[in-house]
Amino acid sequence: MPSSAWLVPVGAIAAVALVVALIDLPGTVRAFDNQAAHNASLSASDRELELVRTLGIDGDFVLAAERDLPARAAYSVETGQPRGASQLALQAVPAFLQNFLLPRLQVANAPWLLCYGCDLHGRHVRELWRKRDLVVAEVVH
């Protein structure tokens, strides 16, 4: 076949790409526009705690931990079954705090304890902040 004969199949492949793109693109652009509108409606602090709200993690607990733990503290996170918390929130709390509280490091048996509904009976701790069964505490030896 001469070169020009190959224009038809080549053009057909490019045309399929373009048609499919034009069908699907408006949805993608709309999703970006919706995201942009949502982002613009939030304040800087809202953005920082968006996951906390989405997952139902207690925002006061997160802010208390950030405020009360020393800047280079090592801390532990223990979770239990706090009232109203979703399984997703309980799963997310340690990883979220690990990121949010850096440069503080999350380790086992640390001198500081972030208790998200855990059982503190018999534990020697000095409570720095409490809201129901959510506690920010220093472990006392």
Partner: protein, 446 residues
Amino acid sequence: MALNVLCLLVGLAMLFAIRGLGDSVELLRLGGLAYLAGIAALTLLAIALLVLGAPVGVGLIVGIAVVLGGVSVGWGIRTGRARPARIRPAMGLRKAAVPGLLCLVGVLAFLAAALRAARLQSLFVTSEWDAWSIWTTKAKAIYLLGGLDPHAFRTFFQPGYPLFVPTLEAMDFHFMGSADTTALHLQFWLLLAGFVWAVGGLLRPRVPHILIWPFVLLLFSTIQLKGLALSPQADFPLAELFGAAGLCIGLWVVRREAWLLAAGGLLLAAAMETKREGYLFAGALLLGALAGSARTTRHSWPRLAAVFALAFAATLPWEIWRRIHDLAGPLQGSSSAGSGARLGPALSSVAQILLDTHFWSVIVPLGLAAALLVLLRGGRRLPVLYLTTLLAAYAGMTWVLSAGVDFSLGPESGQNPIPRAAGAIALFTVALTPLMLGAALDREKT
């Protein structure tokens, strides 16, 4: 932003060193490749310095940029590379180019929409789980703790994972002056724009606009792109680096210009340092390039082997550091125990992800059609490279899915890593399909 401008300048200097830059139009055309190459080179060097215990801050990054850029420019002058001349007079617009340029306008409009979404995007949303639980946690640790702290890394999830994205993010934090995870999304928009620029620039002027931009628009329309492209995690950077590397290697197989192999090797090193899948895709591309250049084995194979070996060697500093500090490696946890019974379903799952329009639209089917068309036309090198890479990647992804007993085999499951990993193949296809179609119109280029 300053870091990204620095990367662009370093990349341009490196391109000047390895190929020369003929005029301002060429400089503009190859800016995207230069940007990706600059990002790759500076971040890989920063990882090596972090491993050596250096406090990688703004001063050191600027310092290595100046040294790398200066050495590159000096080498380029010494070897007599072509220097950028003054701007070429504007060329007339041919009528035939209009539909293709309209597609380019669509690409730019899409990037503008993505920029609006990225500008104020919060990191802490559920769709970016890996971004805040893995990638930015490490980046913030590097930034806030002043380097690599093995004690800190041991407390993180998947501590031995490749370090490219956390290092790049930590460099961003240094240049921003804070661990601003909202502004960080702009970095990932820039990588997306850089990929598109690199592909367009590498393909032009040999491939007409109308064969390039429809495939970029097709990529933009995919459902996977919305959730991944702007998110500060490693999936899309891997795809972008691998896609651009694959195009460079594909062009080298056809044109034999050494600078394309060097640029491809650098981007491939960055891809391997981005995610563990990078090694798999690099291996697949090596097989593809070897098969695609099978008629010139004496010339091609030693060069390909050397470049791929050097690219692999560039990832060794982090690999050595993580082994010294006993951090769990990226391949630990995989086993062949469950692979036998899972092999059949895994084969089916990966095929569905590659071919079902729900994941990466019709990108791979169109890539296959283009490859078959070039084969019918009598061309060999590009379609053989593409098909071999695709087949090897398919086999590799199947192995990963069947061996990882914790992975779900269902394509729709969030516990199946293949839909995201397959992005590398999708972007590779988006980059290579216009080249194959252009080659179908000109048999000499196949």
